[in-house]
């Protein structure tokens, strides 16, 4: 296959000042790639392009990636305007070139969200997600101070539901897909996982309040329930967790004197 790629190149990082994102400035560059095999992964196609760029003395395109198995959540880019590209339930690293045809033009851009400033080219800063987790995405238990694992039985259906929420890979596609750049799906997945399990119930009120407060402080937008987040989520995290988190949140607000 022969393809035309239009790739966002940005050498200076974005900055956030007084809650406003100031772009580092960049532009779409055009590249022609040939000899693309349908069995290549999308990132392998970019590897080959990068090798060509290097050989001709040009700087390679920077993008985040690591596991290339759809689990670390590192890869992150819009492909033709869609987070992680056209295939449902698939991260960029698991997308293969057989999803494209000879002669296609493909547009590749970094996540665009106020809370995810661009670092370089396709690489963005998602540390806001880490800070939300630090605000409460855990059970407060020290190493070694606990009971036997089978002491508290958990219904299989509950454990499975908690697991479904816990499969979030923290890639940020939900934010990238949302017109408001909301992080509700990401936050709700963690809040739901921990509030459903008996181990996480003690702290459920403060957890949801603190995590939501941090989410707002990071500059993520409000949720208007469009469902784009869940539709684009490579792990298919369901919108029902957002509803669950809203219940948790209002329940907590009604009874707490926190935050």
């Amino acid at each position: 296959m022969k393809l035309t790629l239009k790739v966002w190149r940005q050498s200076k990082p974005d900055k956030v000042e007084n809650g406003k994102l100031i772009s580092g400035g960049g532009k779409m560059e055009t590249y022609q790639v040939s000899d693309v095999s349908k069995d290549m992964s999308f990132l392998e196609m970019l590897d080959v392009l990068n090798e060509d760029l290097l050989r001709s003395g040009k700087e390679p395109i920077v993008f985040d990636h690591d596991c290339r198995e759809g689990i670390c959540g590192m890869c992150s880019m819009y492909i033709n305007g869609q987070p992680h590209g056209p295939q449902q339930g698939t991260t960029t690293c698991q997308l293969h070139m057989r999803s494209f045809k000879d002669g296609d033009t493909i547009y590749i851009e970094p996540w665009r969200a106020k809370a995810f400033p661009v670092i370089k080219d396709l690489m963005v800063d998602r540390s806001a997600f880490d800070r939300i987790m630090q605000a409460g995405g855990y059970v407060s238990v020290n190493t070694g101070v606990t009971v036997d694992a089978n002491e508290i039985p958990i219904a299989k259906s509950t454990a499975d539901k908690a697991f479904d929420a816990a499969t979030c890979i923290g890639c940020g596609a939900c934010v990238a897909a949302c017109k408001n750049a909301s992080a509700m799906l990401f936050v709700s997945a963690k809040v739901s996982q921990l509030s459903m399990l008996p181990q996480g119930k003690t702290e459920r009120k403060t957890r949801v309040e603190n995590m939501v407060a941090q989410m707002d402080a990071e500059g993520f937008g409000a949720c208007t329930n469009t469902g784009a987040c869940s539709a684009e989520c490579p792990k298919g995290i369901s919108m029902e967790y957002i509803a669950r988190m809203n219940r948790e949140y209002y329940g907590a607000k009604l009874t707490s004197n926190n935050v």
């Binding site: 095999s37 349908k38 069995d39 290549m40 992964s41 392998e44 590897d47 290097l54 050989r55 040009k58 700087e59 390679p60 920077v62 990636h65 690591d66 596991c67 290339r68 198995e69 759809g70 689990i71 670390c72 959540g73 590192m74 698939t90 698991q94 293969h96 057989r98 670092i119 690489m123 998602r126 540390s127 997600f129 880490d130 987790m133 630090q134 995405g137 855990y138 059970v139 407060s140 238990v141 020290n142 190493t143 070694g144 606990t146 009971v147 036997d148 039985p153 958990i154 299989k156 454990a159 499975d160 908690a162 697991f163 816990a166 499969t167 890979i169 923290g170 921990l194 399990l197 181990q199």
Partner: protein
Amino acid sequence: MKLESKIPDGPLAEKWERHKFNIKLVNPANKRKYDVIVVGTGLAGASAAASLAELGYNVKSFCFQDSPRRAHSIAAQGGINAAKNYQNDGDSVFRLFYDTVKGGDYRSREANVHRLAQVSVNIIDQCVAQGVPFAREYGGLLDNRSFGGAQVSRTFYARGQTGQQLLLGAYSALSRQVANGKVKLYPRTEMLDLVTIDGKARGIITRNLVTGQIESHSAHAVLLCTGGYGNVFFLSTNAMGSNVTAAWRAHKKGAHFANPCYVQIHPTCIPVSGDYQSKLTLMSESLRNDGRVWVPKKIEDAEKIRKGEMKPESIKEEDRDYYLERKYPSFGNLVPRDVASRNAKYVCDEGRGVAPTGLAVFLDFRDAIKRDGEDLIRAKYGNLFQMYEKITDDNPYETPMKIYPAIHYTMGGLWVDYNLMTSVPGLYALGEANFSDHGANRLGASALMQGLADGYFVVPYTIGDYIATLPTDKVPTDHPAFKEAEANVKANIDKLLSINGDKTVDDFHKELGKIMWDYCGMSRNAEGLKIAKEKVQKLRKEFWSNVKVLGGSEELNITLEKACRVSDFIELGELMIDDALMREESCGGHFREEYQTDEGEAKRDDDNFSFVAAWKYVGEEAQEELIKEDLIFENVKLTQRSYK
């Protein structure tokens, strides 16, 4: 020189308890005066950093990814072992210990392995308390499965994403300590050197991967939890960034490297499809419970399949060679990883491999589907089949999967004593980065166990024994040792940037990988290893005169990052070859063609090679010095593994 393994006295089952009682403690009020650097945020690093912070130490935590949650541990699929005996099927701490020593082909330390089996039960309790959603039975209790040919069901799992769930648990504990102000995170930061003062580890030199800044960090102790070195082969199941740089540079500062030639090759990976291949994907071992491995009996049939002129489904029963079932009637398709891998290589070497490259065998579910129905097979392996189809565009319900062995795990690593301290005082190594528990071969579901054991339950105790001997004074980073190390790191980077040759870093990495795979991979022999050594030496020279690294040092530079890593892989590759050449026996993952039984199986030489090979760095381009730590077996009887 002799290595002190510091194994405590007393009966096996009491060693750890006694040791914990005998080691020095750091007064709780004093802990906050000590700083600990933890490099790596995988299962080993995240669990250690969180636990040490809970105890009161000040922790600095480093990783090269953008978030600690993305460490390579996230990719582990199958599960984690623990001797809980919840299934009442006769498991016990001793049995897990025994299986691990035997599985490692009697090349690990008894005392370490026994401790691992002991603390395995605490790991599961800890993870459940953190909210890790393990699989459960309808009654609400934890579910187990048998894994990797084990005869008891002791593997805990979270669908096919066990590593992810365990790591997110450890990451949550780490995040809590960040919020408490006890851990400071340094993501996108790569350790490029270890700093020693008066022979003790006192800090590290790092490069900020975003700005390119070289920085010094000092501490009272340094923990390397930096994972394995499988990427020396270029293609492996490891994440793209996994590397040996931290361990290797510590090695050059005095930490001995043990058993580098012990690597594990996993039999069921998706085969290479072309030159552009960047990594290999593992298909879970559990598939061998129902899939049957075969190749065509006739070379002509294999040729036709390779050319696409024939479909595997159309090969008649009598023309198929189910070679594992034929050669190993009692274990069949469930023989250990090394045996399954080697046999796949043999049939492909004979010209009976399938797939266009000739390097693949079939894993066929036809009979299982006939026996159990497609629904049941889908329920068991649905996600794996789907992943396979995504990558290969073949539907395994209709046509057999194609698989081939790939580098998966490295048993070798930095030498550590019973306290997990390396040969540099104050420097510890945890998880896959050390050599300690798996001998010459690791059993499935035991790496996750070891990483978490080291981080949650071993090092938080043993580190006190060392720290208690230190004054609380901080080491200033303007000490000449830091300045010198910084200058060396910068000089090394400048040199890489100044070469401006013709070949890319990946060119060199691929070439290295091919040499290692051809001569120091699934099977090795003296002649080949000698050739490989020459080739690697030549490659190293060429690298330093002809590599092309663009851009500058004080900026985000992905090519420079790779170049640093590959330069270390090349040096490690040579040591692996030395180690493989020295070990004139076959054991576990190390198969020397000259040393096999009449039936073609690995033949150990316990009289002469029952030792840990610890290599001491003695200077640039000089032959490393071999130091032997004899292995003493008091509780298990050494036998030849047989799977016939």
